[in-house]
Structures are given as C-alpha cells and as structure tokens.
C-alpha cells in the first residue's frame, strides 16, 4: 500500500532530522571538547558586543553587617573580541553616588583604569595591580569578573556531573607558572561549567598557600544573544571561606547589544556623564 506524503511533512521531517542531527553533532562535538576548549567556551560565554545593566551588590561580613550598593554598568567588547571596556557608575549609597570607574581591559598587560570622584570633581587614572584586587570592594577580584585567560592555566577535565540540576563539566585549573599564580592570587580553581551555556555555575578558588579561599556561584542563567549563543547569569554570590565575607550581585536589568557608543568609554566621559 502506497502511503501519500505531503510535501510539508517531508520538509518538516527534514528540519527535524537536521535539528536532531544538529543536537547529535553538538553533543558529539561537546563530548569531544578538551578541558581547554571548555574553558575557552566558558570565557566567551557572556561576552556580548555591548551591554547595559543595573545591579545591586550586597556585601555581607561574617558578623552579619551589610553594605548595599546600586550600580549601573556598561560594557563593550573591544575590536579583538576578547577584552571589554567597562564603565561602572555608582548610584547609591549617597556618599559614593556619582563615583564612576572606567576599566579598559588589556590582555597580556596591565588594564587601564580611571576613576571619577564626584566629591573631588576630578578624574584620576588609577594604576594598580588589579587582576587580584577586589572588584569594587566585593569578594570577587577584577580577574574573576573579567575572566581568567584560559591560556594562562593548565586545565584538566575531572568528570562530568550534575550541579543544581544542570549537566556540567568539572574542570580543574592550575596556573601555568608562578607569575600567573602571583597575579591572580590563586593556586588552583575548580570550575563547574554548564554544558548548555558554558557559564561557570560554580567556581572554587584556592589561595597561594593551597587553602580553599572562596566559592562563587552563578544562577538564573538567561540567553542574551541567541544568535551568537551568549548567556548571562542574573545572580551571583561569592563566599570567602576564610573570612566569612559574602557578596551577592543581582542584575536588576540587563540589556545586550544596545549599540553603545565608544565615546562613552573615555576618561572624559566620566565627568560629563555624572
């Protein structure tokens, strides 16, 4: 018996076949990824052309005291597709309102940073060994926020696992040399990379003496650029295991690819945009 086949059905099957094949291919490709490739994927997972966000940062000390800061952040990927320009404007509390910082990341060199202090009405270039310095007083370093350059580390895929209901790769990374160790302040990292988004859902960090230093967890992962397959966490919390400090950053607003002008990311603009 001959069965009649409608043209749209054939098309539908072809599409379905491609999708299934795509998934199979993706899965096969994913399975074939090396630890280094996974970390490269993770490093680029959130790098969008530009983004504008508003966030609330809550800092908590071991004894329970809290400081809450609201900030506006804009980022723009530089032409190399690796480094970002990042501008952070503090909205509250009142005493630091109007303070703005500008960070121009430079892979392989010291980042450039400028700060505008509204109380002083001056822009100053801030030169610091900032990869291991605290990100605006939080428990994360600038290095944690910018991302640790995958080529500086030796990565080993320990296992595949499930973390918070997500399929993850568990990668152990150790610095390639003492300079990287000294610059980042870490002797080892253990990263739980989400297989779907490549976002690091959990990262444990060991300090230079080999003691567990902190744990950073990301959650509420959303797709922010479906074409370029970019994802962004909306919530992140870091806990310093040694001091008991904690930092929670919640994104109240996140908009990717808004066409932000390069002019925004200049030292002059800090003063203008107050």
């Amino acid at each position: 018996m001959r069965i009649g086949v409608f043209p749209w059905t054939v098309a539908a099957f072809r599409v379905a076949g491609l999708i299934v094949a795509g998934f199979v291919f993706d899965a096969a490709a994913a399975n074939a990824m090396t630890a280094h490739e996974i970390m490269v994927c993770s490093d680029g997972a959130s790098k969008v052309g530009d983004a504008k966000s508003e966030l609330t940062m809550t800092l908590t000390e071991a004894a329970g005291g809290q400081r809450v800061r609201k900030m506006q952040m804009m980022t723009k990927l530089q032409s190399d597709g690796i480094d970002n320009k990042r501008i952070i404007r503090f909205l509250s509390p009142a005493d630091i309102k109007g303070t703005v910082s500008l960070l121009i990341e430079k892979t392989g060199g010291d980042d450039d940073m400028w700060i505008y202090l509204s109380a002083l009405k001056k822009v100053r270039r801030l030169v610091a060994d900032n990869k291991r310095d605290s990100f605006v007083g939080s428990d994360m370093t600038f290095g944690d926020i910018i991302g640790h350059k995958p080529t500086d580390w030796t990565h080993v895929l320990l296992r595949e696992d499930v973390f918070d209901g997500n399929q993850v790769w568990v990668i152990e990374s150790v610095p390639k040399d003492n300079q990287v160790k000294s610059q980042t302040g870490y002797a080892k990292r253990l990263t739980f990379v989400d297989r779907r988004s490549c976002i690091a859902l959990k990262s444990d960090y060991w300090d230079e003496t080999g003691a567990l230093l902190k744990t950073i967890r990301a959650s509420d992962i959303v797709s922010v650029d479906s074409v370029a397959k970019k994802w962004q966490f909306m919530h992140i919390d870091a806990v310093n295991q040694q001091s008991g400090h904690g930092t929670v950053i919640h994104f109240d607003l996140y908009q990717a690819n808004q066409g932000i002008s390069d002019d925004v990311f200049t030292p002059r603009s800090l003063e203008k945009d107050r």
Binding site: P93, I96, L120, R125, D133, G210, S243
Partner: protein, 769 residues
C-alpha cells in the same frame, strides 16, 4: 573525744589505709579532668572596660595577639636583598601557620602593604612586594608613605619587620611560638640577625620560664624534706609532713576536677600555700608525737605501747587546736568565694579545701600510719639536742621577758611601713624577665628600631553607619593621634585617618598641603571605595569596621608598664573631651590595656582578700579563745608578715603586680596557724607548770613552727635559682620572708605580749584549771 577518735582510727587502720588509697586513686583520676585556663584575661571580670573591649577588638578589627619578627643585615646596607628575601619567605611561611589571622599579616612582602603614589593626573597603588628587587623604588615608596615607616621598615631602612596576629591557642602562647619558630629559624644565618617580639613572644617566653617549675618544684620538695630531716633526724620527719601535704594537694586537685572547676595561671603557686599550711600542721603533730614518745619511753613504756600512746596523745592534745586553726584558715579562704573574680574564687576554694583535706589526713591516715610504723629509736640524742634550732629557741626564750621583742618589731615594722609606702603598683609583662634574657634583648632591638612592640588600641563608636567618614570625627582622630604621639614612649599611631590623608594628598598631585583628612563625608566615602578597588575587603579591617561605624586607632608603645599605659589612656581621654564629637563613644583595649586592667583588678582584689581573711581570722580566733585580745594576737603575726612583704617590695624596688600581690595574699594564710599553736600550747603549759610554760611552749610548738618556716623557706628558696625569670625569684624571696617573719613574729611577739599583758582568757582559765 578526740582521744577516743584516734584510738578508733588506730584500731581500724586497715580500713583507713584502704579508704585513703581509694580516695587518692579517685582523686588522681579526677585530676585529669581539671581544666587549665591559660588566657589570663578570661579570668577577669568581663565588665572591666579594658576587658569588655576585647570582643570588639577581636571580632570587629581582627586584632588578636601580635608576633613581630624583624630581620636586619649584619652590614649597614639598607634594603639588603638577602634580608628582603628572608622577610618574603618568613611572610609566606607565616601565612600558612596554624592560628594566624591572615588578613593581619603585614610586611613589605604581604599583599596588603601598599604604597599610594600620586601624580598630576594619576593615582597609583603599588604593593611593596612588587618592587622588592628595586631598592631605589622601595626607598621612594617608603618616603612617600610614612604610614609604613617604623612599622614594617626601620628608620635606617636596614631592618624589616613581619607583623602577624594569632588566635589564642588552648595550649598557650609558647605553643604558637614553637609552631612559628621553625619558619623563622631556617632563615637565621651569619649574614643577618633576626629578633622576635610582641605579645605572643613575650608571653610565650614567660610560659617557657614558668615551666621551669616542673624541675624546681621537686627540688623545693626535696629541700623541704631535707630540712625536716635535719630537724627531726628521722625518716618519718622527712616523709610524713610531705606525705600529708602532697596527699592534700592530690585530694583538692581531684575534688576541683570532679566539681568541674578550672585551674588558672594565677593559681599555679597556690599549691605552695597548701604545702606550707599542710606541712605546718603535720610538723606540729609530729613534733608533739616525738615529745610524747620520749616522755612515755622515759616513764618506762615499751616502744610499741609508747608509740600507740604517743600517737593518741599528740593528736588528742594538738588536734583540737589544729582543727581550730585549720577551720579558721579554711573559713578565711572559703570566704573569698564571695568575690566576683573567678580566679579569687578558685584561690579560695583551692586553699580552703586543701586545708580541710590536710586536716582530715592528719586526723585519720597519719595517726593510722604512725601507729603502724616501727617505733622510733630511743633515746635519740640527735633528736633531742641539736645546735641551731635550740640556739634560736634559747635566744627567743631569753628575749621574751625583756622589751627587746617590742622594740625590735616596732622598729622593724616601722622600716617595713616606710618601704611599703614606696611600693609601685606596676605590671609589665616584660618586667617578669631579666633585661639580659633573649626575649628582652630582642624586644629592645625591635623597640629601638621600630615604633614599639606593644600596642594600645583606641576604639571609636559613632553609633551609626558611615559615622567614621564624618569630617568632625576624622578631625578628632587626627587631633588624638598627634596629641598621643607627643607622649615619650609612644612610638607612632596609625588610623584610617592616615590612609585618607595619604589618598587625599595623592589625589591632589602629591601636594604637601593636601596631607589632611577629607573635609566632606562624601570624599571620605569615595576614597574608601577607591581604596577597596585596589585591595582586599579586609585590608583596612584593623582600622575601620565593615559599616564604617567604628574606627580603631593603633597606638604603638615602647613601654608596657601599667602606670604608663594608664597615663596614655588619661591623656587620650583629655584630648577626646576637647577634640572628639560628644556622640562618639570611646573604648581602650589591647594586650597592654588588658595587662593594666589585670593589675588594677588583681592587686585591688588581692588587697581586699588580705583584709577579708584577716577579719575572718580575727573573729574566728576571738571566738575560739573567747577573747578579742586573742583575736588580735592571732591577727598580729599575719599583719606583720603582710607589712614586711610590702616593705620588701618597696625597699627592693619590686613592683606590686599580679605575682607579688598573689604571694602577699598567700602570706596571710600562714601566720595565723603559728599564733594559734603557740597560744594553745602556752595555755596548756601554764596549766602544767607556769614557770616553764614559756620555754616548753617555744621548745614544742615554737620549734615546730621554726621547722616548717625554715623548710618551706629553704625549699622555695630554690626558685631563686631560676635565673632570668624574676617572677620565680620574687616568689622565692617573698615566700622565704613570709615564712620567717610569720614564724619569728609568732614565736617572739606572742609569748612576750602574753607575759606582759597576762590576758584574762589565758591566765584566769589556767588558774581555774
């Protein structure tokens, strides 16, 4: 009744032995439960302002117990590469040391030591560790950042220090010192000299010196035994008083362990008191036993009969006064439990129960044991006559009817009072060690090159978040720092204001006139935000709390004597009154402040202890003899002993501090017993033969007092050999003085007063009897 009791004890001696054995084994098993408190501050009343601030200091500002390691080249080379390498390795080693508070680790190679530099358009934060190989750059950075001068680098830039804070260790400061010494010692070589100081080092060294007691105490006990052997010329004389004393000690330690009491560092010398009191009672009974034994043998009794009867007679005749004296002393010490301070309560219970244990042993185990032992040889010439003791007793007997005892004691007490009036109340941890000891020498090296090895902390609480950023508060901090730095002995002060001033200067093109505190709250807040961007959240934790409500000013001091610390505190209060906004609450704390508090509280309470025990002894002795005069008589040697102890402190320039006040409080526990034994024996001898009452009293009870005083004084004189550790030498001197003064005052003054005033309580009753 007591006679019947002793006879029953002798009959049931096997049961007594078994019971004593069981109680002792049980006590020994409970001794292991005895918890020993190392941290002296835990013992203090937490309400004392300097102590109450401890929790704020530790939890808010991470200030614990400091250790300072300083490395200098043997040459005159500043910024010596080898020295910097060693400092780096010591810093790295200490970072992973157990118990360290990592955020407080500070040295030229620690992450949190950062130089702030300013230029026309820029602001640079440079961790010193990144330029260790550039001596010129290091010099420049240190010159621009006075904050770090004399804290991590010496004035001549030769010596570099590593400062670390440690959590208290349950095993004490010496345990911390031993853990870090391997990290430090491996850097020692012929090219550098390394000095160690700070609270951990000083107290750790004091603990190590105190541990000499493990060797010195047995030597003291052996010497006590030898003197008693010389006195009694028998092995019983050597062993039995020591057996009573040691058994009493085991029992009381066991009882304290079973009851869950803890033993603190201030009670480590209390066993000496128990030993002296217990041996005192034991010697009185033993002395009487020999007297009775000799008398019974002279009357023709067989050795066994005489032995049994002497045991019964000695305990029967002396026992009731021993019970009375023991109960009075125990009541005096147990009355100390009304004090708030735990260590005083412990001292009271420890000594009170120790004395009661000694009484029980002397009334049960010792008669049982003596009745079981082989009777002594007789006639025992050596026991009956030997030069020194009889010579002393004969002199006192000859002295007593004259005015000489009164003249002597009046003059001597006057001299002692004059000395006592010059006593300095002063506690200094450093002063426990001789100036030539390694710890003191190294402390002096660091003290001379840096701003001070000790720190006093002034903590401000503005009452609301961000209060420290207020310009008026920062101006107050600035005024306080500059004012305190004028006091000789204060090396340097460091606070959040110093960081803000430096940032202000750097942000204003390094202009000299911009080295001032920010003039608005916002600017201070923004500088703090800026600093937090170039460091770790804990970088400023020593100076400011998380919500910027509280601030901490570190006042580095080169001296740690309590009057000096109190002077700094008073000066600070004066400045605060004028310069600080009135809504800012101020507290003082830190190791040196705690030591000053400890001294203030302990000395005051120990003086009150002395008064209280004296009062209890006066009332109880008055009741015992039913005479106020008797109460006063018993109190007299005790008072003279205390006055002499204070006189010695004054004349020999020994400070009245925690250890010396403890010894003085112990001295009051000794004198009363002697007086009671002398009075009671005199009463007994008066009834027997008034003509020989004095000589027989002094030859019997008096000589026993002399034996105990001499043996304990000689025994503890061994502590004088603890070279370098003044606390032991003070103990040796003051215990010896207390023993001799209390014995001679009781022996010479009481019979003289009794003969001169012929009090009714004694002469009427004796006539009646």
């Amino acid at each position: 009744m007591l006679f019947q009791f002793v006879r029953a004890v002798i009959v049931c001696r096997r049961w007594i032995f078994a019971a004593t054995f069981l109680v002792t084994v049980l006590a020994l098993s409970y001794c292991s439960r005895l918890h020993i408190v190392i941290d002296p501050v835990e013992i203090l009343p937490q309400s004392h302002p300097f102590v109450a601030s401890k929790s704020v200091l530790e939890t808010v500002f991470n200030e614990k117990y400091a250790l300072i390691v300083a490395v200098a080249p043997k040459s005159n080379m500043p910024y010596d590469a080898a020295v910097l390498g060693k400092v780096q390795r010591i810093t790295d080693g200490l970072r992973s040391a157990q118990g360290i508070v990592r955020s407080t680790l500070l040295s030229v190679s620690s992450q949190n030591a950062k130089a702030i530099s300013g230029a026309e358009d820029g602001f640079k934060v440079t961790p010193f560790r990144t330029v260790l190989d550039q001596p010129e750059r290091l010099r420049e950075l240190f010159n621009d950042n006075p904050l770090y001068q004399q804290t991590i680098v010496s004035t001549d830039r030769r010596m570099f220090a590593v400062i670390a804070e440690f959590d208290p260790d349950p095993m004490g400061y010496a345990a911390i010192l031993s853990r870090v010494s391997s990290i430090i010692d491996r850097e020692r070589d012929e090219t550098v000299s390394i000095a160690v100081s700070g609270h951990v080092s000083l107290l750790g060294e004091i603990e190590l010196y105190s541990a000499r007691m493990i060797i010195l105490a047995p030597i003291a006990i052996i010497l006590i035994g030898l003197v008693l052997f010389d006195a009694f010329r028998s092995f019983q004389g050597l062993f039995l008083p020591l057996a009573t004393a040691n058994l009493a000690l085991i029992w009381v330690l066991g009882a304290m362990g079973a009851a869950g009491f803890s033993l603190d560092v201030f009670n480590v010398s209390t066993p000496i008191l128990i030993l002296a009191v217990a041996a005192g009672h034991a010697v009185q009974i033993l002395k009487r036993y020999y007297e009775e034994y000799d008398r019974l043998r002279e009357s023709g009794r067989s050795p066994e009969e005489a032995n049994h009867e002497a045991v019964v007679a000695s305990v029967g005749k002396v026992g009731r006064f021993m019970i009375a004296a023991g109960l009075i002393a125990a009541a005096g010490f147990l009355s100390l439990t009304i004090f708030e301070i735990k260590t005083v309560k412990t001292f009271g219970i420890f000594t009170g129960v120790g004395i009661l244990s000694a009484l029980l042993i002397e009334l049960t185990f010792m008669p049982a044991l003596r009745s079981w032992l082989k009777p002594p040889a007789w006639p025992q010439r050596a026991r009956q006559k030997h030069g020194m003791w009889d010579f002393i007793i004969a002199r006192i007997v000859a002295w007593t009817p004259t005015r000489k005892p009164f003249v002597f004691w009046l003059l001597a007490t006057g001299v002692a009072i004059f000395g006592a009036m010059q006593v300095r109340i002063e506690n200094s941890n450093k002063d426990n060690l001789a100036s030539w000891t390694k710890a003191r020498v190294e402390d002096a090296i660091i003290n001379n090159s840096f701003s001070g090895t000790q720190a006093l902390f002034v903590m401000l609480d503005t009452g609301r978040d961000d209060g420290v950023k207020r310009p008026d508060v920062l101006a107050g901090v600035e005024a306080l720092q500059r004012g305190l730095e004028k006091i000789p002995g204060v090396g340097k002060t460091v606070s959040i204001a110093d960081f803000l001033k430096r940032m202000n200067q750097a942000m204003n093109g390094n202009r000299a006139d911009a080295y001032v505190v920010p003039d608005t709250l916002e600017l201070a807040g923004q500088y703090l935000l800026l600093y937090s961007m170039s460091g770790d959240p804990d970088d400023l934790k020593s100076y400011i709390d998380f919500t910027y409500r509280r601030a901490n000013i570190k006042v580095f001091v080169r001296r740690d004597e309590s009057p000096f610390i109190l002077e700094v505190v008073e000066k600070a209060k004066e400045i605060i009154k004028v310069s600080m906004p009135s809504d800012v609450e101020v507290r003082f704390g830190g190791g040196v402040a705690e030591a000053a508090a400890l001294n203030e509280v302990m000395v005051r309470d120990k003086l009150l202890n002395i008064l209280q025990i004296t009062a209890v002894v006066f009332v109880a002795a008055g009741l015992l003899f039913r005479s106020l005069f008797a109460g006063a008589l018993v109190m007299l040697p005790l008072l003279i002993t205390v006055i002499f102890n204070f006189g010695l402190l004054g004349w020999l320039r020994i400070p009245l501090n925690v250890p010396t006040s403890l010894i003085s409080a112990m001295a009051v526990g000794i004198g009363a017993d002697y007086a009671i034994y002398i009075i009671s024996r005199y009463k007994e001898e008066l009834a027997r033969n008034p003509d020989h009452a004095l000589s027989r009293t002094l030859d019997g009870a008096g000589k026993a007092c002399l034996y105990v005083a001499a043996s304990v004084a000689v025994g503890y004189g061994a502590l004088g050999l603890s070279f370098g550790f003044k606390a032991h030498q003070w103990l040796a001197l003051l215990i010896a003085s207390a023993m001799f003064v209390s014995a001679f005052a009781a022996l010479s003054l009481i019979p003289a007063l009794l003969q001169r005033f012929r009090p009714q309580f004694l002469f009427r009753q004796s006539k009646g009897e």
